[in-house]
Symmetry: C5
Subunit: 318 residues, 5 copies
C-alpha cells in the first residue's frame, strides 16, 4: 500500500495513520489517496471516518459500475479512467464529504499525479474538496480523449489494411477492438449518467454551488462526447467487418474469374490438340509438311485464342 | 417434497405441518423453504396463510416472469437463479409478509444452502424477514456472476477456435449459446426492473427501512451489471458469427487462389507439351537430338514458369 | 351467420333477435356471440344497443389493431387469438357495457367453445360481464402459448436441418416463419399495451374492482411473456439465417479445398506424364526397358505424390 | 394554376378571386383547393386571409414534414398522400380556420376528387370545416393502404423470384423498394405524431368536439397501422436481401460441388490414361491384343469410376 | 485574425479594438464576427464583455458539441455549418447577450458572408440581436440541405456503379461516406436538441418573443428534416454494402457456373480423346481410314457435346 496525503493548504504530508487522523481532527484533511490498500487498513479507516460497510465492501472488492451513492454523512463515488488501449480501465473509488476526500485505486493513472502536481506546485487559491473531486473526475474523463483518438487512427489503419490485403489477424484485431470498446461503453454510459444526475440535481452533493455546477456541466458535456465517439467507433468497426467480407468476396471473384479464363482457353485447346494429334493414324500420317504444320496446327490455336478474347471483351472481363 | 423450516432465532426445526403452524401462531416463523411441493400441500398452506389463489396457481404452474405483486396481506415474489450453463435457470417463488417468508422451488440451487448455513451456524443478530428475502435474492443474483464469467471464457475460446479452424460444430455452439443468453436476458431484465421498482418506491414492501433499501440498491446495481454483461456477450456472439463467415471466406479465397495458380501454370504447360509433341509427325520426327530436347523442350517450360512467376509477383499473389 | 346467446344464469338460449331483445330488456343478457354476421344485422343490432357507428364500421370491416376505445355508454374491444401456425390470426371485436357483452368474429377459435362450456356446464356462481370479458381475453391470449411452443420446436428443427444440409426450401421456410412472427408481433404488442392501459387505470371499464384488476394484471403478465417469446424467436430466426450462410460457406470451402487438392496433384502429374512421354522422339526411343519404366516412370510419380502429401500436411489440409 | 371553390352549402362555385373574396366576406367559404398556384397569387391570398409569412413560404417552397402549427388566427397543416408506388408522394399544405379551409398541392391525388364529389353530390347535412379537414386527411391516409398492399405482394413476388433464380435486377429492385419505404416512413411517422398531438390535446384546433375527436382517433389508429406495416415491410425486405445472398451461396455451393465431382473423376482418369499410354515404348509395344485392350484398358477406367461413385455416395454427394 | 464589426444601424465598421469598445459602450454593437482569433485577444475581449472563463476556454479549444449554455449575463451558443462534403464541418462559437452578438470561427463558411450582405445592403428595418442569431443559425443549418442532396446523388451513383461492376474502391468510398455521415449526425442531433430546448422553453434567451419563437420552431423543423435525412442515408449506405456483397456473390456464381460448364464438357472429352488414341497400339493401328475418322472420331465428340447441352438446358444453365 502506498498513500498520498494532502492538507487544505496544498502541502503534501507524509502519509501515516497519525498524520491523517491529526489533519482530520483539525479539519485540514484535503485529500487522502490510497494506492492498493489492504482490506484491513481500509476497514479501519472506514470505521474511523464513519463510512458505511456497503461502500467499504465495494472499495475492497472493486469491479463496480460508476455511480454516486448518497449516504447521509458522505457520498460514495465510483469512476473510471484509462491508461492505454492495452491495459484494463482504471477503477477509482472515492469517498467525499465536506470534511475529506478519500480515493482508493489499484492501478496507476496519469490523472492522479497531474492533479497532485497542480495542488502542491501552483501558488494561489486552493480548491475546496468538491472542486478537487471535479478536477479528479475531469482528469480521469479527459484521459479518454487521447486514447480514443489513437483508437480512431487504429480503425483507419485497419480499414486501409483490409482494403489492401485481408488477413485472419485483422479479424482477431477487430474482435479485440470491439471487446475493448464494449468495456469502455459499459463504463462511460453510467459515468455520464452519474454526472447527469449531479447536474440535474437528482443527486445532491454538499458544497455544490451554481458556479461549481457549471464545471460539472462542462464535464457532463465531455462525457457525452466520449459516449458519442464510442458509439460511432462501434459503427465503424462493424462497417469494417462488413467491408472485410466484401473485399474477400471481391478478391475471390477476381481469382475465380482468372481461373475460369485460363480454363476456358486451355481446356478446349488441349482437347483440339489431342483430337487432331492422337486419335487417328490416318490423320497423323497425312500431316507431315511444314505448311500444314503452320496453317492447320498453329492456325487453329490462334483462331481459338482470338475467338475467346473477343468473347471476354464482349462480356467485359478484360 | 422436501422442506426446510427455520425459526426467528435461527434454529432449524424439523419441517412438519404442525411445526410450521405452531411457529406461525407464535409469530416465530422466519423461513419455510419448500422443495418441489405437490399442488395439494401448496394449496392447503396457501389457504392457511391467506395467500391469494392467483399467486398459488403461479407457484403451482411455474414458468412465470420475475415480478413482485403486492397483495394486501403479503407480497408475491418470483425470481431466478442459475446453477450452471448446461442446466435450466432456477425459478423461485416467494411469499413474503411481516410474519413469514415462504419460498417454493423445483430445482436445487447453491444459494439456498448458503443462506440456510449463514442463518443457522453464525452466532449473533438474526436478520428480519425482509433482510432474509434480500439475502436470498442477493445470493440468487450473485450466482450469475461466476456462470457468466465462464460464459465469457467460452466466447473467447470459441473465437480463438474459429480463427484457428472454422467447423460446423462451432455454429451449433454459437446457436445454443445465443439461446442460453436469450433465456438469461428474458429473466434478468424483469428481475432488474422488479428491484428497481422496490428501490424507487413504486412497489412497497412492509418492513422496508432506509437502511435495508441501501442493500436492495446494491442488489439493483449488481443486476444492472449482469444485464450489461448479457448485452455485451450478445454483441460479442454476433461478432463471432460474423467473423466465422469472414474466416471461412478468407480461407476459401486462399484455397481458390492456390487452385488458380496451379491451373494457370499447368494448363498452359500441358497445352504446350501436347502441341509440340503430338500434333504433327513433321515436327516430332525432326526433334530427335539431345540438344533440341534440352533447348526447346526444357527451355519453353522454364520460360513459361518464369513468366508466370513474374506475373504472380506483379499481382501480389506470392 | 351463427350466434350464441347466453343469459346471466348461464343458460344457453336459442339465438334469435327476439330472444336477444327480451333478455336485454330484462337486463339478463350476459353474452351474445356473433359468428360472421352480415353487415345489415350488425348495423341493426348496433342501433338497438346504442353502439357508435365508428365502432360498428370497424366490426364490419375487420382488420383493426387490438384496442380498447371507451365510448361513453359502452367500450369497444378488439383482440386477437390464434388457431394454428398455418391459419391467419383470429380477430375478435367485442362491445362491452355493464348490460351486455357482444362479440363478433369471422373465424372459429377454441377459446369461444371453452368459455361457453365453462359457463353453461359448471354449477355455482356465474361470472359478471367483466369477468367474462377477462376469461375470453385470457383464453384468446393463452392460446398463443402452445402455438408458440410448436414454433420454438420448429426453429430448433430448422436449425438442425440447416446444420445437417442447407437447402433452398429452408430459406423459404425461414421467410414465411419470419412473416408469421411479424404478424403475431403486430398484434401482440398493442394487445399487451391495451391491457396495460386497463391495469394502470389509463382506460377505465365500468365494473372494474381491485380484485378483477388482479386478474387483468395476470393477463398482462402473460402478454409480456408472449411478447418476449416473439422477440426471442425473431432473434433466433435471424441467427438461423446467418448460420445458414455460414454453413453453406463452410461446405463450399471444403468442396473447393477438395477440388484444389485433386487439381494440385493431378495437373502436375499429367504434365510430367506428357512431358516425358510425348515430346521428343529422342527420349521416347531410349525409354524402352522394363527397368527404366519402373525407375523413372513410376519413380517420378511416387516422388511427386509424396512431396504433395508432405506439403498438404504442413499446411494442415489433411 | 387550377382551383376549386366550394361554399358551405356544398355548391361548387367557379373559382375566381372575386368569388373567393365574396364567399369569405359572407362567411360562406367552405373549401378553397389550389392546384399548383404561382407564388404571387399565393402571397396575395395569404395576405388577404391573414396567413403568417412563414406558413406562406412553406406552401411556396414545399418539401416540409407533416406538421400542425398553431398560429393564433389559423392552423397550418402539412400532410402527405400517395398516388402509386412509382410516383412521388403527394404533399398537401392546408390552412384551417373556423372561417375557411384552404389547401395547396402540386400534384393530383384521388383523395381530392373523392372528397369533392361527396361534398357536392350527396344531399343532406354538410360537414363543418373541421370534419372536412378530417375527411381530407382520412382519404389521404387511407390511400396508403391499397398501395402498401400492392407493395406487400411485390415483396412476396420478389422473394419467390429470388428463390427461383437470383439476378442483379432483383438487387436494384430491392434497393429502390427500400428507398421508397424510407420515403414513406419519413412522412408517415410525423403524420402519425401530428394526429397524436391532436388526439391527446397537445395541439388544439378550434371547433374540435369530443365527437369529432373520435374520428381523429380512428384516423390515428389507421396511421399506426400504416406505420406498423412500413416497419414490417422493412424487416421483410432486409430478410429478402439476406436470403438473396444465401440462395446465391447455396447455388454456388452446388455448382462447385458439380465441378469438383467432374474434376475428381476425370483428372485421375486422364492421368492414368496418359501414364499407361504415352510414357514408355516398352509398354505400348506390348499392349497390342484385343483382350489386353478390353481387360486392362477398359477395366481400370471402370474400376476407378466405381471407386469414386462409392466415395461420393459415402460422403452424401449423390 | 480577421474580424467583422457591424453596428445596430447595419453599417459595417472597421474592426479595431477601439471601435468595438466604443460601439459597445454606446450599446450600438450589433455583431462582432471573429475569424480565427488568437487566444490572447479572445481572452481580453471575454474579460471586457464579462464572458465566463469556461465559455472562453471552449472558444479557444474548439471541438465542442452544439449546445446553448445559459450564463447569467450572456448565453454561449455552439453550432455547426457545412462547407462541402470534402471539408470538415464548420464549428461556430457564439456569445449572445441583449447587448452584443459575438461569433468565433476558424473556417470560412458561406453563411457568414450572406448574413453580413443582407445586413449591410438591404434597406429597412434592422433585425435585433436575437433575430440575427436566428438568421445565422438558420443559414448554417440550411447550408446542410444542398450538401446532403449531393450526398443523396452520390449514394445513387455508387449503388448504380456497384450493380454495374463492384470494385474495392467503392468499399473505400462507402467507408468514408459512412464516416462523414457519422460526423454530421454527431453534430446535427445535439444541434436539433439545442433548438428544441429553446422552442420548448427549457432554455430561455433574453429577448425571445412569441413571434421570434415561430422562426426558431421553423429552424427546429429543418433540423429534424436533416436528422431524418441523415438516418435514411445511413440505412441506404448499409443497404449498398449488403448489395455489394450480393452482387459480388452473384457474379462469382455465374463465373463458377461458366467454369463448371467448360470443365464438364472438356474434361470428359479429353479423357475420351486420350483413351481411344493413346492407350493401345492395337486400336490405333486399326483406325486408319477416313470413314472411321469421321464416324468414330468426330461422331463421339459431337454426341458428347449434344448430350451435355441437353443436360445443361434441362438444369436451366443455358
Amino acid at each position: 500500500m502506498k498513500a498520498y496525503l494532502i492538507a487544505v493548504d496544498g502541502s503534501e504530508v507524509d502519509a501515516s495513520r497519525e498524520a491523517a487522523v491529526r489533519l482530520f481532527n483539525e479539519d485540514k484533511l484535503l485529500w487522502l489517496d490510497l494506492f492498493d490498500p489492504d482490506d484491513e487498513s481500509l476497514a479501519q479507516l472506514s470505521e474511523f471516518l464513519g463510512i458505511h460497510p456497503l461502500a467499504t465492501k465495494d472499495a475492497q472488492r472493486f469491479g463496480q459500475r460508476p455511480k454516486i451513492e448518497d449516504y447521509d454523512s458522505f457520498a460514495q463515488v465510483v469512476a473510471y479512467g484509462v491508461h492505454s488501449i492495452n491495459e484494463p480501465l482504471v477503477e477509482v473509488h472515492g469517498f467525499y464529504s465536506p470534511h475529506y476526500l478519500v480515493t482508493v485505486r489499484k492501478q496507476d493513472c496519469a490523472a492522479f499525479a497531474e492533479v497532485r502536481a497542480t495542488l502542491t506546485q501552483h501558488e494561489g487559491k486552493r480548491p475546496n474538496r468538491l472542486m478537487l473531486l471535479y478536477r479528479l473526475l475531469g482528469e480521469l474523463t479527459d484521459g479518454f480523449f487521447p486514447v480514443l483518438s489513437d483508437f480512431d487512427d487504429q480503425i483507419d489503419q485497419l480499414q486501409d489494411a483490409i482494403l489492401a490485403k485481408p488477413t485472419d489477424a485483422q479479424l482477431a484485431d477487430l474482435f479485440s477492438m470491439k471487446r475493448w470498446l464494449i468495456t469502455v461503453r459499459k463504463v462511460i454510459t453510467p459515468q455520464r449518467d452519474m454526472i447527469a444526475s449531479l447536474v440535474s440535481g437528482v443527486t445532491e452533493l454538499p458544497g455544490m454551488t451554481r458556479e461549481i455546477e457549471r464545471y460539472f456541466r462542462e464535464l457532463y458535456d465531455h462525457l457525452i462526447r466520449i459516449s458519442d465517439l464510442v458509439d460511432s467507433y462501434r459503427d465503424l468497426l462493424s462497417g469494417s467487418l462488413d467491408s472485410y467480407l466484401s473485399v474477400v468476396s471481391n478478391r475471390l471473384n477476381q481469382v475465380t474469374k482468372q481461373l475460369t479464363i485460363i480454363a476456358t482457353i486451355f481446356l478446349p485447346l488441349s482437347f483440339l490438340t489431342g483430337f487432331f494429334g492422337q486419335n487417328f493414324g490416318w490423320m497423323v500420317q497425312r500431316l507431315t509438311s511444314l505448311g500444314v504444320f503452320l496453317g492447320l496446327g498453329i492456325g487453329t490455336e490462334v483462331a481459338a485464342v482470338v475467338l475467346l478474347l473477343w468473347l471476354f471483351r464482349r462480356r467485359g472481363w478484360l
